[in-house]
């Protein structure tokens, strides 16, 4: 019996190895996504073009200008005239303009003596891209107000991700997505392919038990996903400097549970889909899109309308991503994610139960 099983695994591995292009894609997708999200795409605002309008370039104004020049988030374009504000913004040459009151120095000294004064600085922002404007305004405010040290009333303290690196946000999300993609989509397509070609029928007439045929299909994809997991963790740790302070053991354990869950999902899809195209569509449209939308990877779950709020509870990726965030970014111990682990294990068994029942019914 053992020999039968191993000859099946050999066969499945050969199918995958023969299809070099698909295998390369599967192995490279995580690397590309990680690099893309880690370096190229980011929600951080860099190189914001800032100009200053000031009637006299006093010491205190120059101090602000120096600060801007030294800050990597801004590029200081110099001083411009009041009349140029509109043109510069329209042409897109500047993203933000800081206007100092002509009595800036006087107001500053009055304020330091405790006199209540009207605002002395104005920010003008190009808000056609709200993301840049919002984040940029927050940065700018920080830089300027840190200069006015005596008035500092508000103390902002960002926990876990003090530099607000977007990689920290995307790495767990990508992990949640990649494993569904590879395990669920690839397994379901490969089972449905045999159904389509007619080879599954031959296997079913053979003395091999159907459950073994299915298991053998999963083993190679499981191994590939483990390779991907290793690549992702290595890139995250050494290229993107994600802390992983919660310990590797926990991250790997919960990832493996999630891998198995994805495999079961793939099996479930394969019992429903009658052709490869349908299997692909189901995994892409029905699984991936809602997963991206509802897992908290891109949009915060808290922002969903009340009607949709219960939905994320049934999306496995949401629990996984949440757990990975806790372990990777917040550095909590494994005991902090027991709830997520429990839910994922429960979901795995639920999917497995439905899939196996469907699979049996189909055979009859």
């Amino acid at each position: 019996m053992k020999q039968k099983f191993s000859s099946f695994i050999k066969k499945e591995s050969l199918h995958i190895l023969r299809d070099v292009r698909t295998m390369m894609i599967v192995l490279l997708i995580p690397v590309v996504l990680m690099i893309l999200f880690g370096f190229a795409i980011s929600t951080e605002v860099n190189n914001l073009n800032v100009a200053i309008v000031a009637s006299n370039h006093s010491e205190s104004v120059r101090q602000v200008a120096d600060k801007l020049s030294a800050n990597p988030y801004f590029s200081f374009l110099g001083y411009i005239d009041n009349s140029d504000i509109d043109i510069k913004l329209r042409k897109g040459e500047v993203d933000a303009i800081i206007v100092f009151d002509k009595d800036y120095d006087r107001l500053l000294s009055q304020r330091s003596q405790g006199v209540d004064t009207p605002p002395a600085i104005q920010f003008i922002f190009d808000a056609s891209n709200t993301n840049i404007a919002q984040t940029g305004a927050a940065y700018l405010q920080n830089v300027i107000s840190s200069d006015l040290t005596h008035q500092e009333m508000l103390n902002l303290h960002l926990l876990y991700n003090p530099q607000m690196k977007s990689a920290y946000n995307f790495v767990p999300g990508i992990m949640g997505l990649i494993f569904i993609l590879i395990c669920a989509m690839m397994t379901s397509v490969s089972i449905v392919r045999e159904k389509e070609v007619g080879t599954l029928e031959v296997l079913l007439v053979s003395p091999v038990r159907p459950i073994k045929i299915i298991l053998a299909k999963m083993v190679p994809y499981f191994l590939i996903s483990c390779i991907n997991l290793a690549t992702i963790l290595l890139i995250a740790r050494y290229l993107l400097d994600v802390p992983m302070s919660g310990g590797m053991g926990g991250i790997i354990t919960i990832s493996i549970i999630y891998l198995i869950l994805s495999l079961m999902l793939g099996l479930l899809i394969s019992t429903i889909a009658s052709s490869q195209v349908i299997a692909l569509l189901v995994s892409a449209m029905v699984m991936m899109l809602p997963m991206m939308m509802l897992s908290g990877m891109v949009f915060p779950i808290e922002n969903l309308p009340t009607v949709l709020k219960p939905l994320p509870y049934i999306v496995p990726a949401r629990w996984y991503i949440e757990a990975i965030r806790k372990l990777m970014i917040m550095g909590l111990p494994f005991s902090a994610v027991l709830k997520e682990v429990g839910i994922l294990i429960f979901m795995t068994f639920a999917f497995m139960g439905i899939a196996l029942k469907n699979f049996k019914n189909r055979l009859e």
Binding site: Q3, S7, F8, V197, T199, V205, P207, L363
Partner: protein, 246 residues
């Protein structure tokens, strides 16, 4: 040793209200080439699935290679060969890998596998194609290889489900030579086909209409009985009364 490989009595399969196979009874003897004919939808496939141990009969009883169709499906599977109309080898695996896979499925040992593989390669004269992907072989070769692989464990009985569908006449001819050879060596063949000229090659044929076996005999006697020139005519006379099918 028992001389009957298939013996069924009153085999019936219902799906809800629909009776796909209605109370069929027949025997197939060792070394016989048994043609199982019928129009599409006549219930051929359902009947065959029951005989292969893939589906349980609603009522009736029978044995295939000595095992009960209702209780010993798994044992039946181990002792029969099966080749379907749709090509049953893996195109992205080589000739050798395909042979090794099916040898593994039927539990052949390493030594047996190598011995049987060499034998197949020599018999089909494709030793030089050992490491060729099956997908790039000509259809005729694939067909023969497919049959050889289906009988790699030397089963007493082989089910062929429309094995020559979409194949040119010359290849079909060569394929039937292979079937004869296997039958001469004592393997029983249970074959379904659409081609009535192939029915003439069988030792005995049964014709199914509307889920029932309407006629069963040697091609010669069937032609006499229906005063027909060919099996094609016999089939048309019987199929005329069909209520379902296409």
């Amino acid at each position: 040793m028992n001389n009957t490989v298939i013996s069924v009595k009153g085999l019936t399969k219902r799906f809800g209200d629909f009776t796909a196979v209605n109370c069929i009874s027949f025997d197939v003897k060792r070394g016989e080439i048994f043609g199982f004919l019928g129009a599409n939808g006549a219930g051929k496939t359902t009947a065959m699935r029951m005989l292969c141990g893939l589906s349980y009969p609603t009522s009736g009883s029978g044995t295939v290679v000595g095992f009960d169709v209702t209780r010993e499906g798994e044992k039946i599977k181990r002792h029969i060969g099966y080749m379907s109309q749709r090509f049953s080898l893996y195109n992205d695996l080589t000739v050798w890998e395909n042979i090794r896979l099916f040898a593994g499925i039927y539990g052949l040992s390493k030594a047996e596998t190598i011995e049987r593989a060499n034998e197949i390669l020599a018999r089909l004269d494709i030793t030089s194609e050992r490491d060729t992907l099956v997908g790039s072989l000509p259809l005729g070769w694939k067909q023969k290889l497919s049959f050889a692989v289906a009988t790699i464990h030397r089963p007493e009985l082989v089910f062929l489900d429309e094995p020559t569908g979409g194949v040119d006449p010359i290849t079909r001819r060569q394929f039937w030579e292979m079937i004869y050879e296997a039958a001469d060596n004592g393997t029983s063949i249970f074959v379904t086909t659409h081609y009535m000229d192939e029915a003439e090659y069988c030792s005995r044929v049964s014709i199914m209409v509307d889920g029932e076996v309407r006629a069963i005999d040697t091609p010669t006697r069937l032609k006499e009985q229906f005063a027909a020139e060919s099996m094609d005519e016999v089939f048309r006379i019987l199929a005329r009364g069909a209520k379902r099918g296409d």
